[in-house]
């Protein structure tokens, strides 16, 4: 069969092409451009090759921040995914409870990141915050400004509060798509509550869970605003994640070359990990 070539089609995709070029490709290329050059201002650039990449990869600062990122994401996923599933399983399936639950669940998602940060920053303060004062009154020594563990706990609880809803909503969407006949058949087959979950609900939620997992991984790995607002990366460097480090480097120190190299490494790590997760999860899906 002869293919019809119609060059007018290019005009149709042109707007998207332009949009993507300006929003993604060109900025990314600019970063690439910075990462291989050195500048002392005045728009003068010198070729630097892979020096900046070597610098970044050899610095403890990078590896420490990366480790923090990985630990943070692992904790976030380990809490939010199971918690989201449990909440979704216990949400009402019909009646007036459904819209109420859905709205309640959606609320944290509607709040801008920096506002979430501010809320928790104030909430946890030992002098005026509700949480900080309550814990102090209970005799618990809690201070996220001075104690790294407390800072981490605050960030994790905040992220769980903010984002578990997303997992819940995705899982809930997967659950309500299961026809009643499955539950009825399971009853007739004498399946236990656990079997129903293991053999009906979990397989049906698998696809949405994959999406939830990827979204939560990428988002938590790129976290910036909330720790920036709450802890500013401290105490010390204990909550300095890659993103925070990157901003310090680029804007604080104006080290554009290393910052650009770090950006690219950061980007590639996220891309690589997401690809690994996706491949692992979809191949296990195909094998069943």
């Amino acid at each position: 069969m002869e293919k019809t070539w119609n060059n007018n089609a290019w005009f149709m995709v042109l707007p998207v092409l332009v949009l993507v070029a300006f929003s993604a490709v060109i900025p990314l290329m600019t970063v690439v451009n910075y990462s291989v050059q050195d500048t002392f201002g005045n728009n003068e650039f010198f070729w630097a090759g892979t020096d900046w990449f070597q610098d970044v990869l050899e610095s403890d600062r990078f590896w420490d921040a990366l480790t923090r990122n990985l630990i943070f994401s692992a904790i976030i996923l380990a809490i939010e995914i199971p918690l989201g599933i449990v909440i979704a399983l216990n949400m009402p399936k019909k009646g007036i409870g459904v819209p109420i639950c859905l709205v309640l669940m959606a609320l944290p998602l509607l709040i801008p990141w920096n506002v979430v940060g501010t809320i928790w920053q104030v909430f946890g303060r030992v002098d005026i915050g509700l949480l900080g004062r309550t814990l102090a009154a209970l005799g618990i020594n809690y201070n996220y400004v001075q104690n790294p563990i407390d800072a981490w706990v605050t960030l994790i609880v905040m992220d769980v509060w903010h984002w578990t809803s997303l997992v819940v909503l995705l899982c809930y969407a997967g659950l309500v798509s299961i026809p009643d006949a499955y539950y009825q058949a399971a009853k007739i087959d004498g399946a236990s509550r656990w079997s129903v979950f293991r053999y009906i609900q979990l397989p049906k939620m698998k696809r949405v869970l994959l999406i939830a997992f990827l979204l939560r991984f990428m988002d938590s790995f790129m976290i910036y605003t909330e720790p920036f607002v709450v802890t500013g990366g401290g105490p010390g460097n204990s909550t300095t994640f890659l993103s925070i480090d990157l901003v310090k480097m680029a804007i604080g120190q104006f080290d554009l070359g290393p910052a650009a190299a770090l950006s690219i490494i950061y980007f590639l790590i996220i891309l690589l990990l997401s690809w690994i997760f996706y491949t692992v999860m979809t191949t296990s899906d195909a094998k069943g």
């Binding site: 499955y182 009825q184 009853k187 007739i188 087959d189 004498g190 079997s195 069943g288």
Partner: protein, 356 residues
Amino acid sequence: MARINLEHIRHAYGAKPKSEADYALKEVHHEWNDGGAYALLGPSGCGKTTLLNIISGLINPSEGQILFDGTDVTHLATQHRNIAQVFQFPVIYDTMTVYDNLAFPLRNRHVPEAEVDRRVKEIIEMIGLGGWAKKTARGLTADQKQKISLGRGLVRSDVSAILFDEPLTVIDPEMKWVLRSQIKRLHKRFGFTMVYVTHDQTEALTFADKVVVMYDGQIVQIGTPAELFERPSHTFVGYFIGSPGMNVLPAKIDGATAAVGGESIALGFRPKIKAGATTELGIRPEFISLGREGMPVAITKVEDIGRHKVVRARFADRPISIIVDEDGEIPAEPHVTFDRQAINIYADSWRVGEEA
């Protein structure tokens, strides 16, 4: 294996039914024999699935009781009733293999693994999925999946009853025959009580010893296929069973004669009719003969459907259908005679018997 008693069962989906019309299932009071094969036949929305789900315990009836072998199970949960049910659309456990799917109901009941293996292997051969035992159920075709659903129902040998909710809807016509005869054979062999919901009359008639015809939330007749054909107790049964359905003509009954339009037809008996009832005469197309003698009709259309012809005609200004043999002659001035034995008289849609 169990005898099933339905004691004054009624069901409404709304919380507080006010009138008769609020009931999806109007009063049902019947006994179904141990080991019987029953088909629940009726159009969509007549309450047949509701009745089935009441038997399986997926629905609690608003009123009445259900007894298995004399034991009240009305409030017993589905898993404790020892019944199997096959649904309209295949329900399979995607992540399990075909073998594990079939073993699932047995393993849940802690049947010893050797027994599980024996039964599963038997069923897997029977449903023709022998070579697929180790495959995951996900990649199968719709009718293979439905066979697994069927298999999961059949694998438990000790069930009180197996309930089928239009299980062959998604199966190809050819495969339908195979599966239907397999189910029949199993029924003969194991003798479980079987309830089969369908809206396909051929399926119901070929499959069941007793056909339960439902219409508008009630059971209008329970009978053998022959009874349903010859003596439909409600005009609905007449319409619904048979192809084409029974001719039902408004008639005035006077003693042992019925007047349809201008024609008067002699009946073999004196129907017992209450004053003021709307009366009708029912005659199946098979029992009308077309010839030169009798009452005049005007033929509007002849449909040749292979083994016989269906003649559509107007009789006493009403449409009727007549079945004529393939080589039967259609005269130029057609007349009809009704087989007297095959005439049924209906008062307010219900068949009436002879006056005592």
